[in-house]
Symmetry: C2
Subunit: 257 residues, 2 copies
């Protein structure tokens, strides 16, 4: 099954941009009349008939649609500090998208080695991984924001969750779960495992923060706790930032399996 992305769906027509059109018409040689599957990136799959097989700007007429195609029964926001090596963060974006994530917020921490992050490539990777894993909703890649500003409520949709989405999810009305994976080297703060905390949570809106290679600063951790974030650990293995982020996403995915 091959999915195409429509940048606009209106009047019963799905419009493909130059890249998607080229792939559909030039590479896969689809012609007017061929039936294709198109996603709007917002959660709906459209089964269509190709109406205009222009390789620069193809369009397809909607025959039927499947709302919530490939959707998961939770809403997950992962705030993660981009790694020094960009490939590692992009790998996390791809894998988290395959497993199932709704929003990724690049966080700039006090100890982040990478203080600047451009989201364009991550957006393309998220689109590609969404199509590859047969989902219709592309995770949002938020603009980078400092850990402290994110905790204060700006940046990303944070906890607020997007009512439109949450309304569709059983338990979406319950209080959200806010977790911070923090090493707390001094161990002054007792932590439970992410698995234990997820299993005792009866809602579906989860936000998880993953720090940079040098971990969150004590100030960031204190602010998170003050904002109601629950400190969790991911087990005894020392995981790289991007591995911790994917492990956290997988823990949520498995929780709702």
């Amino acid at each position: 099954m091959e999915l195409f992305y429509a940048y606009e769906v209106a009047g019963g027509m799905c419009l493909l941009d130059a890249e998607e059109s080229g792939h559909c018409v030039r590479v896969l040689r689809h012609r007017t009349g061929d039936e294709i599957d198109v996603i709007d990136g917002l959660g709906t799959l459209y089964h269509c008939a190709l109406a205009d097989d222009s390789a620069k700007g193809a369009s397809a007429r909607v025959l039927s649609c499947v709302p919530g195609f490939g959707a998961h029964p939770y809403r997950l926001t992962i705030g993660c500090c981009p790694t020094k090596n960009n490939d590692r963060f992009e790998w996390f974006v791809e894998k988290a998208t395959e497993v199932g994530v709704d929003e990724i917020v690049p966080l700039i921490g006090d100890r982040s080695e990478r203080k600047v992050y451009k989201t364009e490539r991550a957006g393309r990777i998220a689109l590609s991984a969404t199509k590859q894993s047969l989902k219709a909703r592309i995770p949002k890649i938020a603009e980078p924001v400092s850990v402290k500003d994110f905790l204060r409520g700006s940046g990303g949709t944070g906890g607020t969750g997007g009512t439109a989405i949450m309304a569709d999810i059983p338990g979406g009305d319950r209080a959200p779960l806010r977790l911070i994976a923090y090493c707390f080297e001094d161990e002054s703060v007792p932590r439970r495992s992410i698995k234990e905390v997820l299993e005792t949570f009866d809602g579906t809106d989860v936000t998880i923060l993953i720090g940079p290679e040098g971990d969150f600063s004590p100030e960031e951790a204190r602010l998170a706790l003050a904002q109601g974030y629950i400190p969790v650990h991911l087990g005894s293995s020392r995981l790289r930032t991007e591995t911790a982020a994917v492990t956290a996403a997988t823990a949520v995915y498995l929780r709702y399996l």
Copy 2:
């Protein structure tokens, strides 16, 4: 904490090869008398004093040791078909090592696009990830074997598990769990989720088979079931081969968290 790998530990001395010695002496500028931490790749950490700071072949005297350093409470073998793109399989090797795996068996399936696999690079990646994630046991990278030969008991340590290791693990004496993640497109075979099967398992010796991009062949699947493998699914997301393998490793890791 920086770990070095000793290719040999004998007579109270740890011997480092040229690469490890160069990293220890030339890069990190350790000198005779410095205390360093060395792993034997078999599960033991040795706290040592550098005895010979030769950048070509350094040696260190053992001061104390920690058996089972960074060990996990299960024994996991993952048989996975190498991906067409080698980077993806190597990424799985790195991530599974960080999370915790004991043996990786490159499987050549009837539908594998990659029929040949060289294990040398994967071995280096496993060593590097073992040190990076603060473990003392390097996962074994078995020689490639066909899916059918593996199922017939040749290749890897398969289910047999390595008594020496299992003796150290509670539940290691119980019957092993054999799982095959197979799409069973025809759906003729009922599958349970890997999470459900793991939660009802009271042992600690787990083997999981992950097929190639084109999935296992019906013959391979039939042979697996005949050999007592339990068919499982990894949830509704369509995961790439390497993502499925890491998700399976993470499911086991979280099961014993």
